[in-house]
Symmetry: C2
Subunit: 413 residues, 2 copies
């Protein structure tokens, strides 16, 4: 990746200008080779705030609309950044591809497996690539661990785990006030609603869709009690919310089996008091890493007291220095910037470059479809009492053939 913004100008339509969308657009506006020519939100005040941000940064007013078709289908738009509510990512992305514009979609899950297929077919039929903006694939820890995995520090990988463990009761409980789509999803659905922050990096470690794939899953949801209690205490202003039935279990665990025998555990954990964590775990035949506690244990390297049968981990700090990913070394020299410890800038830059160079984005439509399908399949599994569900092969077998040895910008060492 060329961290410096020095390519051909890319003109973007930005769709969805809630707090995430506005923040991402501001990171984009710091890139000299990016312009925003259209902004769109169903809430006109948000669209207007977006337009003002462009005006302030670039000295011109973009096209402003509440209709996504108008924002995307314009001659001065090269690509579309879709940061709308979860349920609209896929239809907007399909519209963009059908109109020849590369879409980048923010993270989220799918409501059905069918919409994932629609997204894949739209890309295949139009030849327009899609990228998912999974920023955590660009996290400093995640890329460092990817290098360790590739260099066999953990031996053969056997099991990985990750979580979206983030107490969001306040955000969800006040979702109607903040016009946040999360509230309606948590009230109505029950599944792994938000898998990609942890699944994206794990998919890279395990070569998912490139020589390996996710084959089947089973999910189980705990009772839904945390948000319900929170609403009872904090939303006495709205009796419908105060007494609302919450469908989303407080702790939803999904187990995934891969074609090559590895397993993945995902935990969705947003409505009980806790500390933030992406709950990363990497297990191999030569060692392990665990995010909580920053623990590592490497056979032959981590000191072991032979008189103590219970081995103990060590801090991962020195290994995280030793194995820093080349992209992050360059990024530190260049100057880390943007939100979420700098990973937002990297993922946006990757998209902009793929548009400039007309290359395949590093996180493509097959990654997006397979990762997003986990949400719909976990809902189906839970609805059927943890019945195992087959995960489709969105590559139609090409994970075994040409995709096996595909070179990937950013993620190859």
């Amino acid at each position: 990746m060329n961290l410096q913004a020095c390519g051909q100008k890319v003109r973007l339509a930005v769709l969805g200008l809630g707090s995430r969308g506005l923040g991402q657009m501001q990171t984009l506006l710091e890139m000299e080779d990016v312009d925003v020519t259209a902004v769109c939100d169903v809430y006109t005040d948000r669209a207007e705030a977006g337009a003002e941000a462009v005006q302030a940064a670039r000295g011109h007013r973009p096209f402003v609309t509440s209709h996504y078709e108008e924002a995307i289908d314009r001659s001065d738009v090269d690509a579309a950044i879709i940061m709308t509510s979860w349920e609209t990512h896929v239809p907007l992305a399909i519209f963009a591809m059908r109109h020849g514009k590369r879409p980048a979609i923010e993270v989220g899950g799918a409501a059905s497996v069918e919409e994932c297929w629609q997204m894949v077919r739209a890309s295949e039929e139009t030849g327009v690539p899609l990228m998912m903006l999974e920023n955590c694939c660009y996290g400093e820890a995640e890329l460092t661990l990817l290098r360790m995995v590739r260099e066999q520090v953990f031996g053969t990988l056997v099991h990985c785990a990750g979580a979206y463990a983030h107490d969001l009761r306040d955000e969800i409980g006040n979702g109607d006030i903040n016009r946040h789509y999360r509230q309606r999803h948590f009230l109505h659905r029950n599944g792994e609603l938000y898998p990609t922050h942890e699944l994206g990096p794990i998919a890279n470690y395990l070569n998912i869709n490139r020589g390996n794939r996710m084959v089947a899953l089973t999910s189980m949801a705990s009772m839904a009690r945390g948000l319900h209690e929170w609403l009872g205490e904090h939303r006495k202003d709205r009796t419908d919310l105060m007494n609302a039935q919450v469908n989303e279990g407080d702790v939803v665990i999904t187990l995934i089996r891969c074609a090559n025998g590895e397993t993945i555990q995902l935990t969705h954990d947003c409505t009980l008091p806790r500390f933030y964590s992406r709950g990363g775990v990497i297990r191999g035949t030569k060692g392990m890493w665990m995010e909580d506690g920053h623990f590592i244990f490497l056979e032959g390297r981590t000191p072991v007291d032979p008189s103590d049968w219970a081995h103990h981990p060590e801090s991962d700090a020195k290994y995280m220095q030793e194995y820093m990913h080349p992209l992050w070394k360059a990024y530190r020299d260049f100057g880390v910037r943007g939100n979420h410890d700098g990973m937002d800038y990297l993922v946006l830059r990757a998209f902009v470059e793929s548009v400039q160079n007309q290359t395949e984005p590093p996180i493509d439509v097959y990654d997006a479809a397979s990762w997003m399908s986990i949400t719909a399949l976990s809902e189906a599994s839970i609805a059927a009492g943890s019945l195992p569900m087959a995960i489709p092969d969105f590559t139609d077998g090409r994970w075994i053939t040409e995709r096996r040895s595909e070179s990937r910008a950013d993620f190859d060492l």
Copy 2:
């Protein structure tokens, strides 16, 4: 519990004198109100070593046999401690009950649900209670956490997790040399082979079989690679082992749903390099605890920086002092003794007292049956591609009625 050994003499048959059995017998022989009148092992050298240990401690030689029937069915035996291989716990316990002798069985899992029912029916038909020697139910941390749970420190419990995470490649790989039954189980089976160290304490937290019960589970196993690689490197002396097919997945995860909506995660994790952990996690509507890292986060108590969206945990140390269980307070005054940080003494003492007082043991045949059945059911689930399996109600509905408010020695506060 009366920690002092000062009751009526209890005369024991001790069955199974491998390293665990011998160690437990030595802890028993430190109790003045316990005698060992019979020792039994299929290996005569082990039985002889047991006899010598009794001779050294008590100045008399016990009856020595390799036939369990002979050891149990004696007029000078009041009760039987069964510490044999996993697959023989149930038939020996049933024999003991059918002959009017209270059995205590070491921990392990069942090979079939049917043998769990046989064990329950033998106890019901004879009126002879059975106890499982789940020492971890008496661990200092586990009892402290039980008190915290009972005092609602975590609010309403929603989810618990635990693990048997112990790198046993050496022990299993050399199992034939050590005559350890674990080797044959790991080579042939694939499931949650050893659930009770973590499930026992969790069952106490969640009132399993006493107002709540485990309803269904699903299990998934990773590939079996760790032990296979270890055997290839370390057992070149035995080509059958060096090339052996290992069936037991390196990481086997079981998700359990309870009648009252709580979920339990169990992880069996014995054949990859790692540090030891029982992987405890307790999640409630007011807080959480996590064994790895000794982390706790309690709403309204753990300090939170309002400017930092990612909350952070604190050390559990001061809470573990504040909520120390009364049994452990007394035990510290009395003097902690025996193996495994003192919990072995407590669980053995509980059994001896239940024999002396002819009372119901604190961990009874319904607990043993339901906990042990998880092994057989997890194997079934994995064999059927993570199909969910219903967990039998071994109490035949009495978890809802008379067992709901049952008082329990040691575990009530």
